[in-house]
């Protein structure tokens, strides 16, 4: 039992070799994001930052 729920299944038992093979198959297929994608994300984060400060600045002007 977990909380109020009854589990209908238990975790399947896997032999170690099979687990390792699945793990290795995923690992062998590894990719990394390209530089352009990462640059876009950092650019967006920076733009969001400036936009936010800009907006706060405007609000400051209005408040004054």
């Amino acid at each position: 039992m977990i909380g109020n729920a009854t589990l209908n299944y238990s975790e399947p038992i896997l032999d170690e070799t099979f687990t390792d093979q699945i793990k290795d198959a995923f690992a062998a297929d590894k990719r990394m994001p390209g530089k352009s994608v990462l640059s876009f994300i950092m650019g967006f984060a920076a733009a969001f930052e400036s936009l936010e400060s800009g907006m706060l600045g405007t609000m400051g002007v209005i408040n004054n």
Binding site: I2, A5, L7, N8, Y9, S10, E11, P12, L14, T17, F18, T19, Q21, I22, K23, D24, A25, F26, A27, A28, D29, K30, R31, M32, P33, G34, V37, L38, F40, I41, M42, F44, A45, A46, F48, E49, E52, S53
Partner: protein, 195 residues
Amino acid sequence: MSEIRKSDYELIESYRKGCLSDFELLVSRYQEQIYNYVFSLVRDRQLTDDIFQDTFVKIIRTLKAGLYKDEGKFIQFAMRIAHNLIIDHFRKENRIPVVESSSEDYNYLDNAPITDPSVEQGMIVDQIHTDLRKMIDRLPMEQKEVLRMRIYDDMSFKEIADITNVSINTALGRMRYALINLRKMAEVNKMCLTY
């Protein structure tokens, strides 16, 4: 003296106060895991780039809006966003897998043979990985997802259930059927899954 590693929460708070380099650290900490998770499900480099990018755009918006509740599980939060974007994509494309996880009648036998004839002659580790990868690709998305999260990302079923928005029972069931289907595929294709 080694530099003290900042926690995810410290990086997030620092970024919220305007430190971009701490956000960059956060991205670099998890980029590989998130990118590979997306790629393993969509199997298309361009699409993975788009979904990965959109995931971080949503993360940035959520963090900056102060809507992120830290429970020490940034990666789960990030993977939940990625998961939802993948589901949205398949829905838009009308390609959402229709196979029920609870069904043992998944029709993997309708697919073309997986192994190359050469496999029987001299099975090498790379070939096993490639064939196993092909078999994993034939699994319904939700089974593939649980298999990856449990075995490769080493997540608990509770974590998997949270990310994929299903009950623990459903996550366990999906795992069970993923393994049943993999074993059946291996059997049908006369694949020996040992080195």
